[in-house]
Amino acid sequence: MSILVYIEHAEGSVKKTSLEAVSFGKALADKTSGGEVIALALGSISDEALAIAGTAGASKVMHVADGNLDAGVIQAHADAVAQVYKQVGANTLVLSKSSLGDAVAARLAVKLDAGLVSNVVDLPDTTGGYKVKRSIYTGKAFAETTVNKDHKILAVKKNAVDLLTNGPEATVEKVSLSIADENFAAKITSTDKAEGEILLPEADVVVSGGRGMKGPENWGMIEELAKELGAATGCSKPVSDIGWRPHHEHVGQTGVKVAPTLYLAVGISGAIQHLAGVNSSKYIVVINKDPEAPFFKAADYGIVGDAFEVLPKLIEAVKAIK
């Protein structure tokens, strides 16, 4: 018996959210005598970069170094994961929620005849049956979900467990698979992706601007504050609808759901649909000139004031403590 963790990588490194999934697998194994925690990586990446999965709790990494898997072709990844899952005799698959992870997990639930739970926020309760706590209604509630299958797939939300960093580096074992052509039926023709940017769904700090920022020309302040805080930048839906900011920055019910330790909202009113995307944040700071803005009710800290006066001072104050 073992726990397989599907890990993603970008720009030569394992994603932090995937390392969290490894730590989730490790905590699950410790809790349930679940056996070995094996991380699985697909596509080109160096052994040194993969060894870090050990520090997060994996006892070894299996690597399918097939260049055809560099692009995240959903069916091909699902097929590869299913093959390795069966090879190692796993009974649980853990992965981190992401655009690829979700799509792959869904196909695997059918392939592996497994009970799948998404948006998992805590370790399963196995005292009677197998109960998993997951986030529902876009963060407005939780559901305790009982899994009635021998095989389980858990798609884990950011911050579900603490990231472990103190394990020994893991050895990397190469696996070669044969993946049938039909799994490459959908072809990725090109990718258009920001390089070297902190990505919104994975960020620990997010600075977001709303319509109160008045126009795209004023985003310099948001970006500067984000840079000082090591943060990703986000925005409200109207801001991306009007085209002030790219669509992938849109946070909320119909956009990206974030779960940072700190979410800083500037000139955003705090409509319920925006809050739905940020309610898993640990701390929320709101800057708004309207003391009645609904966002203050969801905030931990706030400043009632004009963003154009407050932001420059805030940037200086953050610089000053560094």
């Binding site: 699902a78 209604y137 305790e144 023709t189 990718t191 990505l199 319920i272 400043i303 407050v310």
Partner: protein
């Protein structure tokens, strides 16, 4: 060409989420139900494709009788006919099996739905249907064009997008900005009343997962306000109290 759009019947985005029966049931009192916002994007794009390509457009919901007004709304927006699989949608795999059974019977070329429902947010049904039918399933799709047998798509990935091509038939989980939400007009609403809405029984399906209890998050404490002329104080609080800097 035959298009199927699967829609969810979900609480309006402004609904207060509450539970009854000892936290085992969703409390529907006072809640407005709508077409899931992501499904609404899928439907809007499907109506555009129907008009452009002369396709037929069926909408499908797995749900009990109270979801019919939501299906009628989809008919008013532009679907030709509707199917309701008469069953409570217990979990994603159950719903996927129902959709796959209907799809097998009717051989749709394109199956669209939202990237996720806004009640359970699983985002899994399209992938499961894809696997059950042996078709590509692409999600979240923000652009979708059909050129002959080829579908060209843009899919959102962390920090950007990915462009894809695949042949019909296929399944896509949709999100904005694939199309603009459509509001039904008077003519649509009138004609929706007489469009066919067929009710079929569910195919057998085991329950792989089921919800045994609901819970609300703890209430948020009140906000600590810092004076706008004392911004340094905020940074101090974040550093020393919240310990996030």
């Amino acid at each position: 060409m035959k298009i199927l759009v699967c829609i969810t019947h979900v609480p309006d985005t402004t609904s207060k989420i509450q539970f009854t029966d000892n936290d085992t049931k969703f409390d529907k009192s006072g809640v407005q139900f709508i077409i899931g916002p992501y499904d609404d994007y899928a439907l809007a794009r499907a109506v555009e494709l129907k008009d452009a390509l002369g396709a037929s457009l069926t909408v499908l919901n797995v749900g009990e009788a109270d979801t019919e007004p939501t299906l009628r709304k989809a008919l008013a927006i532009g679907a030709d006919d509707a199917i309701r699989v008469n069953a409570f949608p217990t979990d994603a795999l159950f719903v996927a099996r129902q959709i796959a059974a209907i799809a097998k019977e009717n051989s749709y070329d394109l199956i669209l739905m939202g990237r996720e429902s806004i009640d359970f947010n699983g985002g899994m049904v399209h992938g499961m249907v894809g696997e059950l039918l042996g078709m590509p399933s692409i999600s979240p799709v923000m652009k979708l064009d059909v050129e002959g047998e080829t579908v060209k798509m843009a899919r959102e990935i962390e920090g950007g997008k990915e462009y894809l091509e695949a042949k019909l038939p296929l399944i896509a989980g949709c999100q904005e900005p694939i199309a603009e939400w459509k509001i039904p007009n008077m003519r649509g609403i009138m004609s929706a009343r007489t469009k066919p809405l067929n009710v079929v029984e569910a195919v057998d399906s085991e329950v792989a997962t089921d919800v045994t209890a609901f819970k609300l998050p703890p209430a948020k404490g009140s906000v600590k306000l810092v004076d706008k002329d004392n911004v340094e104080e905020l940074v101090k609080l974040l550093k020393n109290e919240a310990k996030v800097l």
